[in-house]
Symmetry: C2
Subunit: 714 residues, 2 copies
């Protein structure tokens, strides 16, 4: 047996053993052995002959990452070729001979450049800050993880959005609202003394995809997080994250001045209230000089806010903005608001509340808007606020955790959903005013830009529960860095890094990922249906629910199915939510015939026999979409079954088991929804759609006690 | 570079990488490379040349374990020596030449024999069942993990206690009552479809130490677990555990017949109630033929029970026993009861309630008794029920999770505590009637024997949070198998398996582990003090608490400190709890002078200036014990600091951080308790005990919001 083979076998044996039930912990930083000798040869010396200029904690992190990569790629024992070299340094600290060859003027603070010089023998990673070098290093390693040719590497890359943050809806008791991957990774009880390795690995994983901020606490926030007892803990996390360029943010409970026992009002125009928040901010910044600021959910779903004092969102946001302004902090003020009394279409309310205040918010306030006007559905038209507030920085809020998309048991590649929203044209500034351009500020030259993703991260050994949930976190980060990347490219990149470079794996699996989003739409909410999930936990179908306290909590409010038809009329004859969009959209969507069919029932109430583009009735189309969703999951199963050779045993089996759940539940969705809607349509199921196994009463009776992600106090 | 060294280095590199932040997951099944070539040589062939007779799922598990060991020990590529061989088989299935040489008559069902024959060239592991072979295999591998000489191995070992079970106080929402290692490992939402690798690894780890049962749910139980929706999930777990000889048990909520909506009474003598439980049992056994039975907490701390219907513990337990009897199920009826109204010393109540019923319980009922009469304190005298019910099988209930011992942040080697209790002489059947002999049935020839440990297991990546928490789980299992093993031997065994065989590591660390239990007693509750922890979460000191609804919930009830002295008078002049013990104890302990000082204030209220054996006052002794506890933790830190070379980086650092917490909190305990008691003693602190840093009000004001382990509904 030759040495190489011997070692490979030994390594393989060890790998199989050491990764027992721990697959996935390394996320996209699982540097795997480069099994192609030619590729390996072209990489080895660059990692075995490196010069990293500097000695700060960020530089140390870069060095450590290179070591880990070297070990994982199995380069550690190869002799370096003295000709090849990797140099990493901030541009103005590079040796003078190099300095002149590397121009970093247009890179900003975070952008990086990977330049190949010296006849391909030297690769230089540079930028204008050490964080830029870190991003560059991860970018470079990502090329290697994909076995890309690096012989003439020349990459220039910088983020298009400034604030790229994760939102953790994590409570102080470690429950996670809408969390399906276990519980909160923040072990508050043992902080600040116990620094878990997970904290650093979280920072590494995020930095590797360009995320530069994290909101640690739930938007339904707890004022205690602002007390010194907790700030000390937050500080400890901030110190772990700092070398990785990750700023820490907290949620601010608007009524905190009262709840913490200091004042009897939280009126944002009250001088004592202003002073109180200023003091809190000063206290936090004294401990955490690079603290990012506050995320605020106010006057929404029972949360306190300025309305109680007859003040506005602007009053509330700007008061907090003032408290953090001198420290370069920002306020992310959420636009997810709907009134407890307002009988108007819930889809319209945020727009109506916020648009009048365009341009009134302080410079360091961003309004954080969910991608759609309802709530993180499998598909929603983009939120009409995008494009409608040209003088206000709007931050995108995506949900990575799958509240309405099958929790952590359904495989849904969300970057495809994010991309669809980002690519939509708002027409706010003429044609090609895409949501991405609103977000990255290019549409109206905004100075402050941001994007947030509600995290799908928890205590599960692989962070996300579903092995493919990692792809959603990864993809969010990549799109936050550059909202114009093709989701297909992200899928390929992730599949290669995570599993295998073999084309027989990458190609069909890319197709599977890309199709997975339409699949969930088909079996849950086709043709513009929305919010027909079961109550409270939102798991499984509940189109029949009609008994909740507020009308807009009930699925029947959203689908409005009756003998005459189905769908929410949001045209002029209905709620006229459509009028909130720019003219080209409002006009096009006012007619069902010119409305994209994927949004049909979002905007129109139509008779069951309404004729669709394919010549079949609406009822038939609904039924066939549900059926197609089921068949697509069956196809996912079939494809996955052929991938065993490319995937480690643990993730192969886990994904197989989860796909079985997904198929079972796709059928549950189909059968429950069709049984329910059929009462009204009174039409036969079209050929190819099987009769439901059970009657409607059975589906109505299904309960999911203790479904995860629900706040125990609800 | 030679091949071997090359490989070692490569492996090391890989190890460092692959175990990033995952250290400890493998527990005591982390088969590490045997780095001593002589030892390695003597082992290799036995693992590379094995014959395992049979093909059942248990046999498969044995084969798989041998593979894992081979890979971990790094034997996979060594050429087998054809002379050496390991044969594993049930005795009556061994080849006839062997059968005659291996006598397994006295081994019972679970015992095993490891026999070396054929001039040391053949090792045979045998027994009377496949589970015995599994235990034997683990026993054999344990020898190798310790690098023991196996050249003439002859081991005969069988469990001394029949039912060796873990109790999980896990709720269906995955919170864990008194859990400090994250949340429940049972992911009910995704069961039965998703079988996590953790389930199997849990079974492996338990089987390796001889545990053969697990109660999945909290003693404060939820009736829903008895519904088909959950039984299907329990069944899935039982199927994973079965090949490892682990039976599944559930907790039965006494009021389930009412709560699940079927009956309007839970009266144990009501025919419909009996029928209801019989049906439930039949339903469970139809799915899980080897279901173990029920654990019941009734009429205790607000839980429902037979008292409501004027029935007795016997009525309740025997009714349930009848329901499971035909399936060979058992009932574990907890004796942790105290009345909401009874003003009598809480320490006396369980004894008073149960003793009258000795001999009245059905044959398949065990009464499960906590080790002490109060509640899992750092030290308690053994529970007086042990020895007092000669005609009732008493099951020991230990707490592995550290509710009153510093949660998962204090290093306390609990087998030392367990051993102290097991070794106590009850004198119930003359001298040498130790608690161990009550438990294992030898004291009165009981047919049913059992021992339970309240698990310290959770979603933490290393299962227990504190790396040394694993030793407590391990030690519980070893003592459950054989309650006469010296805790020092367990400590050594675990240290060798888990970290290193080097004597410079094993010796001082064994001393550290053994001393750690007295350490926590010193800094928390020296000299018989007890239950002076803070309210509800029980974290940190709270000797001043006096405002809780029931007297026996208040620390002041237990220490009774006033100007006249301190301690609970349980002699004839007080509650006379002492009378519940056998005469030799009752007499000896009635006089403070002959009472072991470790129990002094448990049984006596004594003046502050009472003269102790060392000639110093009680006050001085209390103060010096607290101080000694602090100094012992300082010594633990010093010892640990020298162990870096023997321990992986992650566990070294984690333990260092946790020891820093432990030291800080030992000081907190010392300063808070001495500040508080000094008000009454009005005496100076003795030399060597520093003045508290803060005043008493400061210590009283410390809060630990969201301390883990508390049921959110409390």
């Amino acid at each position: 047996m030759n040495l190489k083979k011997f070692i490979s076998l030994a390594l393989l044996g060890l790998l199989i053993f050491n990764t027992q039930a721990q697959e996935g912990y390394e996320l996209w930083l699982d540097y795997k052995e480069i099994q192609d000798p030619t590729v390996e040869k072209s990489y080895t010396s660059f990692l075995n002959n490196t010069e990293v200029i500097g000695n700060s904690s960020t530089i140390q992190s870069i060095k450590k990452e290179l070591q880990l990569a070297r070990a994982g790629f199995d380069f550690e024992d190869s002799e370096p070729n003295n000709e090849s070299k990797l140099i990493i340094g901030v541009q103005n600290k590079l040796p003078s001979t190099l300095k002149n060859q590397i121009n970093t003027k247009n890179l900003g603070e975070e952008g990086y450049k990977i330049t190949t010089i010296n006849n391909g023998n030297t690769i230089v990673i540079s930028g204008n800050s050490e964080i830029a070098l870190l991003y560059g290093t991860y970018g470079f390693l990502r090329e290697m993880q994909q076995w890309n040719d690096i012989s003439a590497l020349n990459i220039e890359d910088k983020p298009k959005i400034q604030k790229r943050v994760l939102n953790h809806w994590d409570n102080l008791d470690r429950t996670v609202e809408r969390g399906y991957a276990g519980f909160s990774i923040w072990d508050w009880h043992l902080l600040p003394e116990l620094i878990k390795p997970e904290y650093k690995d979280y920072a590494r994983a995020n930095a590797a995809i360009g995320i530069n901020g994290t909101v640690l606490t739930n938007v339904n926030s707890n004022a205690l997080i602002l007390t010194p007892h907790y700030i000390e803990k937050v500080k400890a996390l901030a110190e772990v994250f700092r070398p990785y360029g990750i700023q820490v943010y907290l949620t601010a409970r608007f009524s905190a001045p009262i709840e913490l026992g200091d004042l009897d009002t939280a009126d944002p125009l009250d001088e004592n209230v202003k002073k109180w928040w200023k003091n809190i901010a000063d206290e936090i910044y004294a401990e955490i000089p690079d603290f990012g600021g506050f995320l605020v959910k106010a006057d929404s779903e029972g949360q306190p806010g300025p309305f109680q004092y007859d003040r506005t969102h602007v009053d509330g946001a700007n008061m907090l903005a003032e408290a953090v302004a001198s420290h370069n902090g920002i306020i992310m003020w959420r636009a997810f608001v709907y009134s407890e009394e307002d009988p108007d279409d819930r889809a319209k309310q945020a727009y109506d509340q916020f648009i009048p205040y365009d341009g009134k918010f302080a410079d360091n306030v961003m309004v954080q808007v969910k991608n759609g006007a309802i709530d993180f559905q499998p598909r929603e038209p983009f939120h009409p606020m995008f494009g409608a507030m040209p003088n206000t920085p709007l931050m995108m809020e995506f949900q990575i955790t799958q509240e309405y998309l099958g929790f952590s048991s359904h495989l849904v590649f969300l970057p495809k959903l994010f991309e669809e929203v980002l690519d939509e044209d708002t027409y706010s500034n003429g044609e090609n005013s895409t949501v991405a351009k609103i977000i990255d500020g290019t549409n109206s030259n905004k100075k402050l830009t941001g994007i947030a993703g509600v995290a799908n991260i928890g205590t599960e050994k692989n962070w996300t529960g579903h092995p493919f949930g990692q792809a959603d976190w990864y993809g969010f980060g990549r799109l936050a860095w550059d909202p114009y990347i093709d989701s297909k490219d992200i899928a390929q990149e992730w599949l290669k890094i995570n599993f295998s470079n073999e084309e027989d794996f990458v190609k069909p699996m890319t197709d599977l990922l890309i199709e997975s989003r339409e699949t969930v739409v088909n079996y849950m909410t086709p043709l513009g249906l929305h919010h027909i999930m079961a109550t409270s936990h939102h798991y499984g179908p509940g189109p029949w629910v009609d008994d909740l306290g507020r009308p807009e909590w009930n699925p029947v409010y959203y689908h409005k199915a009756d003998k005459n038809g189905i769908g929410f009329d949001r045209t002029a004859s209905g709620s006229n939510a459509l009028a909130q969009y720019a003219k080209p959209i409002a006009e096009k969507y006012s007619n069902p015939k010119t409305t994209p069919e994927k949004y049909l029932l979002w905007f129109h109430h139509l008779p069951w026999d309404y004729e669709m583009k394919n010549g079949k009735s609406l009822w038939n189309n609904i039924a066939l979409h549900y059926q197609k969703g089921v068949e697509q999951v069956e196809q996912m199963q079939k494809t996955w079954a052929t991938m065993e050779q490319y995937v480690n045993e643990e993730e192969f089996e886990k994904t197989s088991m989860l796909l079985a759940i997904q198929l079972e539940e796709a059928k549950w969705w189909r059968d429950a929804c069709l049984s329910y809607f059929q009462q009204f349509s009174e039409m036969e199921l079209p050929t190819g759609v099987p009769e439901p196994e059970h009657d409607l009463e059975y589906y109505k009776s299904i309960e999911r006690p203790y479904a995860p992600g629900i706040n125990p106090s609800w």
